[in-house]
């Protein structure tokens, strides 16, 4: 019961702020609604029993990425709003139509899977060597579990992600610097 109330409240806030992010005219206000949205998503992660990911969400998204957005919005000091520019080739209605198509597709998938026997009956144990270690870790806590998986089964993707971040960092510096 309490979980249901929490879920519906958080969902309402997440969706409401998402709509505001997309619909607000002022870009700075839009960025602020994005921060609030991310904070509520973090609360949803806590509800889902993933406190480590919730902390990462606040730290990386709210404290890092969105600050970057805010910087760019403040640097890109617009004299005229991009929405004020009129382009005769632009068809905004087409965008709504495409979004409606996506909505119909998602709805169809939901309707199909609600009827069909798609969901397996019981969750199986992960078929890996680390499975026993993971189940031993489960008693300790969420952070240890995630860390254990990251540094054993998913070590190579982890290294690739760190490589990607390094490349992105160098790329951003090269792009943003006027002359090297």
């Amino acid at each position: 019961m309490g979980q249901a109330i929490a879920f519906y409240t958080l969902s309402a806030f997440i969706l409401g702020f998402a709509v505001l992010v997309v619909s607000t005219k002022d870009t700075v206000h839009s960025v602020l609604f994005l921060v609030l949205d991310f904070l509520f998503v973090a609360a949803l992660y806590v509800l889902l029993g993933a406190p480590f990911l919730a902390a990462i969400q606040v730290l990386v998204y709210a404290g890092g990425i969105v600050v970057l957005y805010l910087f760019v919005v403040m640097l890109v000091n617009l004299k005229r709003s991009p929405e004020a520019h009129h382009d005769p080739h632009r068809r905004a209605r087409l965008g709504f139509v495409l979004a409606a198509l996506v909505l119909i597709e998602v709805g169809a998938i939901a309707a199909y899977s609600a009827g069909g026997p798609v969901r397996p009956a019981a969750p199986q144990a992960p078929p890996t060597a680390a499975a026993t270690a993971v189940s031993a870790m489960r008693a300790v806590g969420n952070t240890e579990e995630v860390g254990w998986l990251l540094y054993t089964n998913y070590l190579i993707p982890f290294e690739v992600a760190s490589m990607l971040l390094l490349v992105a960092m160098i790329g951003a510096i090269v792009l943003a610097k006027r002359e090297l």
């Binding site: 002022d26 700075v28 206000h29 602020l32 921060v35 904070l39 406190p51 480590f52 902390a55 990462i56 606040v58 730290l59 709210a62 404290g63 890092g64 600050v67 805010l70 910087f71 403040m74 806590g141 969420n142 952070t143």
Partner: protein, 340 residues
């Protein structure tokens, strides 16, 4: 019922009020200490030796006119002081002030909560605190606050990297993210982590000065250059909120440093038997004394050192502190693997 609801609420009330009173008296302490350094007396008029000065200041700020500039972004202008204040206060939820005490036949732990990701919670909440500064500067729609807020946020983000890296090396030594477990780890290691991680401690101290915009890193509030910093356009109670948030952040840094590096609520030499008469003093007193010492050094530094130039500050952060912190982390990891 009592354990679930009443006791936590009472604890939250006590912690919040103690923090706010502590913050106001912190201002008085700062004025007094700086006055003594400069052979002055400091505030003396209100109450004996100026003891009631904070109350007079608070009253003055409350009855002052509250001005919103005409061209300001009204909603953001109003929200910014609140956004600055809230993260500074909710961090206290995970800071352990003392050991469990026995009150009226109940075991009461002297912390509001002990979550599994306590340290990560502190870091992430602190990273949200930067919004108050950015928004305050942006919403004022005035050039000095905007410049100051850009400076402040660049500084906060740079020094956050160094601080977080030092925290990782502490986590490596302690083997836990929970604040209470970190204190217990220092108890079982028979030594404060300030001695196991001296480099991390120094980097944390310097970074803490920068994170709270304290001298010698108070570029965002350099009165001589920026007429006061990001809160130039604020007056009355809203200005007071920014001011309180800054001092509350100082107390946060001091408490985190005490917990991570100075053994939290533990008495000095917790494993030396002949010093056990020190146990008469309650554990939270040790915590307060250590935090107070840390805060005193903050004020002392402000009264002593001149301000850094902005490029020097950035060079110190990126070219000295962060490489040092990474080297410290790598060495800690190697030593930990080799010794186990």
């Amino acid at each position: 019922m009592i354990d679930q609801l009443v006791i936590p609420l009472v604890k939250i009330l006590i912690v919040l009020n103690a923090t706010l009173v502590g913050v106001t008296y912190m201002v008085l302490l700062e004025r007094k200490v700086i006055a003594w350094t400069q052979s002055r007396l400091g505030p003396m008029r209100v109450g004996p030796y100026g003891a009631l000065q904070p109350i007079a200041d608070a009253l003055k700020l409350m009855i002052k006119e509250d001005i919103t500039p005409v061209r300001a972004d009204k909603w953001v202008f109003t929200a910014a002081p609140i956004v600055a204040m809230v993260p500074a206060l909710i961090v206290y939820a995970v800071i352990p002030f003392g050991d469990t005490v026995n009150l009226f036949g109940r075991e009461i732990p002297l912390y509001i909560t002990d979550i599994n990701v306590g340290l990560l919670y502190i870091v992430s909440v602190a990273s949200v605190g930067v919004y108050g500064i950015i928004l305050g500067g942006y919403a004022s729609n005035s050039k000095y606050p905007l410049l100051a807020s850009l400076r402040a946020s660049a500084q906060l983000i740079s020094y956050e990297v160094a601080i977080t890296l030092t925290l990782v090396s502490v986590i490596l030594v302690a083997g836990s993210l929970s604040m209470v477990s970190i204190v217990r780890a220092q108890e079982s290691a028979h030594v404060w982590f300030a001695f196991l991680q001296p480099i991390a401690f120094v980097i944390f101290f310097i970074g803490g000065l920068a994170e709270t915009n304290r001298s010698p890193f108070d570029m965002p509030e350099a009165e001589q250059e920026l007429t006061g910093g990001f809160h130039t356009e604020y007056s009355g109670m809203r200005f007071a909120l920014f001011f309180l948030a800054e001092y509350a952040n100082m107390i946060v840094v001091a408490s985190v440093a005490t917990t991570l590096f100075l053994g939290g609520w533990l008495r000095p030499f917790p494993n030396v038997a002949w010093l056990s008469f020190l146990d008469v003093i309650p554990s939270w007193t040790w915590f307060l004394v250590k935090s107070f010492g840390f805060l005193y050094i903050f004020i002392w530094v402000r009264a002593t050192l001149p301000r850094y130039r902005y490029d020097q500050l950035m060079r110190l952060g990126w070219k000295v502190l962060i490489p040092l912190a990474i080297a410290n982390l790598v060495i800690t990891g190697i030593v930990k693997v080799l010794l186990l």
